[in-house]
């Protein structure tokens, strides 16, 4: 198992009801697998998982990427700074 930390921002944080979570995941888990697991474990996040942006260790990451051990995973909607 790999230990990872999830950070939620903006709408995703509101729906999750928390800024961060820590969890243990299988070593070969992909971003898509992680989204599926969060949709199951946190029903409030299910709709958000369809359009969420994901980062691994502060770089944008995509569905097929494997989540490394001790990863810092960011989850948030498309950005709206400026």
């Amino acid at each position: 198992m790999n230990h990872i930390k999830l950070l939620f921002f903006a709408t995703i944080r509101d729906r999750a009801g928390t800024k961060s979570l820590e969890m243990d995941i299988p070593a070969n888990m992909t971003i898509q697998d992680l989204k599926d697991r969060l949709s199951t474990d946190y029903p409030n996040l299910k709709d958000s998982m369809k359009s969420v942006l994901i980062t691994i260790n502060r770089e944008y990451a995509f569905d097929e990427a494997v989540v490394p051990a001790n990863a810092e995973i960011g989850m948030f909607p498309p950005v709206s700074g400026g």
């Binding site: 903006a10 709408t11 509101d14 502060r58 960011g74 909607p77 498309p78 709206s80 700074g81 400026g82």
Partner: protein, 155 residues
């Protein structure tokens, strides 16, 4: 001059954006032009969905945002090697109408060097890849503003 020696400022801050201080930091003895873009909270919007804004509340994934601002600065230098100094600053927190929220400034020896385009590119890229969000609060309640850009691998 090697680009690693050129002044590059990138930060997320809760403090007031000080244009004069930033401009001084990115002005070299060879600088003759600066293009500055700053955005502020608009209290009254008439274009599109007309509405009023009481304040905006900004938040950021700060360490990633500062890394992405550095990336934007690197992209500017790659596209416009003549650029001398670059400042990219995003203010976060609760910000009221007329308050500057973001500043992108680029300096160069002359104004016809692409310095205007470089600053334009900087604000456009910031709005695409730098993780900052704003919640808009107005007379009819509050709503997160969401962008529409989906970053590609390598961005």
């Amino acid at each position: 001059m090697e680009s690693s020696n050129l002044p590059t400022i990138y930060s997320i801050t809760e403090s007031e954006i000080d244009l004069n201080e930033l401009l001084a930091k990115i002005t070299l003895v060879s600088t003759g032009a600066a293009a500055i873009f700053t955005g502020m909270v608009r209290g009254v919007t008439s274009r599109g969905d007309a509405h009023e804004t009481e304040f905006l509340e900004y938040e950021s994934y700060i360490p990633m945002a500062e890394a992405k601002m550095k990336q934007v600065a690197d992209e500017i230098r790659e596209k416009w090697p003549v650029i001398e100094g670059i400042a990219i600053v995003q203010r976060i927190g609760k910000l009221y109408p007329k308050t500057p929220t973001v500043l992108i400034a680029c300096t160069a020896a002359h104004r016809d060097t692409g310095v205007f385009e470089a600053a334009r590119y900087g604000i456009d890229r910031l709005k695409e890849i730098v993780p900052v969000w704003k919640k808009e609060v107005g007379p009819n309640g509050e709503e997160w503003v969401e962008g529409d850009y989906i970053p590609k691998p390598g961005e």
